[in-house]
């Protein structure tokens, strides 16, 4: 048939020679020489992690001068341990914020999962591994509930997770009877994330190593799989993504489910970190995780950012708090400094997002 013939030909016929990248074809011109501000804008626009990386290096540099013991391996190891839980929650929060959502329930999911793990094994005699897996299951189920409410009922993520924050936290109080479960009653597996091994003189917890591994896995998934592209596309412009053939609801749901699982993993780390399971733990974890994401250069408006930025963000907060303490500064100035950082980070993000004319 003629049309089939034509269709076949389409692949073979080159574009008309005369009409190549001529003046009328919209070839992309190289960026012209521009001012310094514009060039910085371009660099930050192309790579949003450069900012947080520079801030982290600067902070380390300053504190290594103002506090003698700051650079000691022991102290650096402590910072990483302190960052372990929030850093892990930050991975979950990054995924959600990349889809232009927000999750206020990450802390509640984490605590609920940790209590389930601890109580099942300590009180009900469930073996450690099974208790751990059930805890992961609880976190995943919480994420599924969030995801279904967001994708099926089309409620704003802020409202959904504000609601589930309270629901999950109440369930946690109910199940735990508001009692802390001691580490000595738990199997070793649940406490294992707080155990350390020696690397030279430095003690490193298995939990911090797992956290870094988690960052690696999620960074790979975001940068190198179709799913990762879809997460960005959905956060960028959900309707455009849908019309491009991305199953947006499925992507968003998968992100909330995965975030729930990661929160449960953070719950496991939390038990190792505080060597117990407390229903009141992690009260500031929600906002801390959002802080790490924002300082790490991920845009609250979705579609822009890197998970490794969140690691930098969490480390910046950790370094700042630790360094200020080491330098003998009153604790209240830590909050002051973190607050300023958040505002600066978002202001920079707004500036970066401005697309050049």
């Amino acid at each position: 048939m003629a049309e089939e013939h034509r269709r076949g030909l389409r692949r073979l016929i080159p574009a008309p020679q005369g009409a190549g990248p001529s003046p009328g074809t919209g070839g992309i011109e190289a960026a012209e020489a521009r001012g310094l501000g514009a060039r910085i804008h371009d660099i930050l626009h192309a790579n949003a992690v450069i900012g947080p990386a520079i801030v982290l290096l600067l902070a380390i540099l300053v504190f290594s001068i103002t506090a003698d013991r700051f650079l000691e391996p022991r102290n650096l190891s402590l910072i990483v341990q302190q960052v372990m839980v929030v850093g892990t929650l930050g991975v979950a929060q990054t995924l959600i914020i990349l889809t232009a959502g927000i999750d206020l329930s990450v802390g509640a999911i984490m605590v609920l999962s940790s209590i389930v793990m601890a109580k099942l094994s300590a009180d009900s005699g469930v073996p450690g591994l099974l208790a751990l897996l059930i805890g992961f299951g609880v976190g995943t189920a919480c994420g599924l509930i969030n995801g279904l409410l967001v994708t099926r009922l089309r409620l704003p993520p802020f409202i959904v997770t504000l609601g589930t924050l309270n629901v999950f936290f109440a369930l946690n109080l109910y199940y735990s009877k508001s009692e802390t479960i001691r580490g000595v009653d738990m199997p070793d597996l649940l406490l294992w994330t707080g155990n350390t091994f020696n690397l030279g003189d430095t003690k490193i917890t298995y939990g911090s190593l797992l956290m870094l591994g988690l960052y690696g896995v999620i960074a790979y998934a975001l940068s190198s799989t179709a799913w990762g592209r879809h997460v960005y596309a959905v956060g960028d412009d959900a309707e455009a993504a849908r019309l491009s053939g991305v199953r947006t609801n499925r992507v968003v749901l998968s992100v909330y489910v995965l975030a729930g699982l990661i929160c449960a993993v953070a719950g496991w780390f939390l038990i190792g970190r505080i060597a117990s399971a407390s229903p009141q733990a992690g009260g500031t974890a929600n906002l801390d995780s959002i802080t790490a994401v924002v300082i790490g250069g991920t845009s609250l408006f979705g579609g822009r950012g890197l998970v490794v930025g969140t690691l930098f963000g969490a480390l910046i907060v950790g370094v700042l708090r630790n360094g200020l303490t080491q330098s003998g500064v009153d604790v209240l100035w830590q909050d002051f400094a973190v607050g300023i950082l958040i505002i600066v980070a978002v202001a920079i993000d707004q500036w970066i997002r401005k697309v050049k004319a």
Partner: protein
């Protein structure tokens, strides 16, 4: 031309929204190798018509045939699987993704071997190379920029990416909804050139536009929609813009100047006959 089967044909499409009849028995044909413009005043049913043809809406009544075979498209994905690609007016691309990612969005190729099947790794090189080839084929890109974020492109260039995507994956036809609506004069010109090149490369195009000069510059035939039906099919060679607008707005009733004959010819797939009839009428 007489024996050519339309690539896409619709007969008696009806679509009601409550009491509102958006389409009241509309017909439609698209032939191989042509740019068919669809024009119509607001409320004439051209959006609904296009939604029916792109799978975004299912008509209440009527038939759609693709290459002479009756088809049912329940959603845009099914239409796409049949080789119908649509570029939507404003929602064309994902700004923060690069050009190659945008081109392959929703159908990314995986790397060969275990990297692809187990680790689900994207074949980034293939994406870049293919994207570059498609963009170069359509003459809209200098090669080194394929990794550029789409938001750093101008509006016309973004539209170019969207059109290139449709042209790259559309095996049967491409539907463009108001591709020049948001663009300046110069950029519109470039997009129109691009549309003509898509056709010249062998892919028929349905162009929905409000912009009469653009329609008359690039279209081979013009489908005029009015009050939920096709009232006429004209060509830029035989009709002036004013005449087309007159038919579109109802200032000239179809039939008065023999337009039904034109429609009749068009229905017989007889572009030349259409032109001849119109010439005779004009004399």
């Amino acid at each position: 031309m007489n024996e050519t089967t339309p690539i896409l044909q619709a007969r008696g499409l009806v679509k009601r929204y409550g009491h509102v009849v958006a389409l009241g028995g509309a017909d439609f044909e698209l032939y191989p190798g042509e740019i068919l413009a669809v024009i119509g005043d607001n409320g004439a049913g051209k959006s609904t018509l296009i939604k029916c043809l792109s799978g975004a809406t299912v008509p209440d009544e009527g038939e759609i045939e693709l290459d002479g075979q009756p088809v049912q498209m329940r959603n845009p994905l099914e239409a796409r699987a049949m080789g119908i690609e649509t570029v939507y007016q404003t929602l064309a691309v994902s700004p923060s993704l690069d050009i190659a990612s945008n081109l392959f969005l929703g159908r990314e190729p995986r790397a060969p071997g275990l990297m692809g099947t187990v680790l689900r790794r994207l074949d980034k090189r293939k994406m870049r190379d293919e994207a570059r080839r498609h963009m170069t084929e359509l003459g809209i890109l200098t090669i080194q920029n394929i990794g550029q974020q789409v938001e750093s492109l101008s509006g016309g260039q973004r539209q170019g990416v969207a059109v290139a995507r449709a042209a790259a994956f559309g095996s049967r036809l491409v539907i463009l909804d108001e591709p020049t609506a948001a663009l300046g004069v110069k950029e519109s010109g470039k997009v129109l050139e691009l549309i003509a090149r898509v056709r010249d490369n062998g892919l028929p195009v349905i162009l929905i536009s409000h912009n009469m000069p653009h329609v008359f510059e690039v279209a081979d035939r013009i489908h005029i929609q009015r009050l939920g039906r096709r009232v006429a099919v004209v060509t830029p060679k035989t009709h002036t813009m004013n005449e087309a607008v007159a038919i579109m707005t109802g200032a000239t009733e179809a039939g008065v100047h023999g337009y039904e004959q034109v429609v009749h010819d068009a229905e017989r797939h007889d572009a030349k006959g259409t032109a001849d009839t119109l010439q005779q009428l004009d004399q």
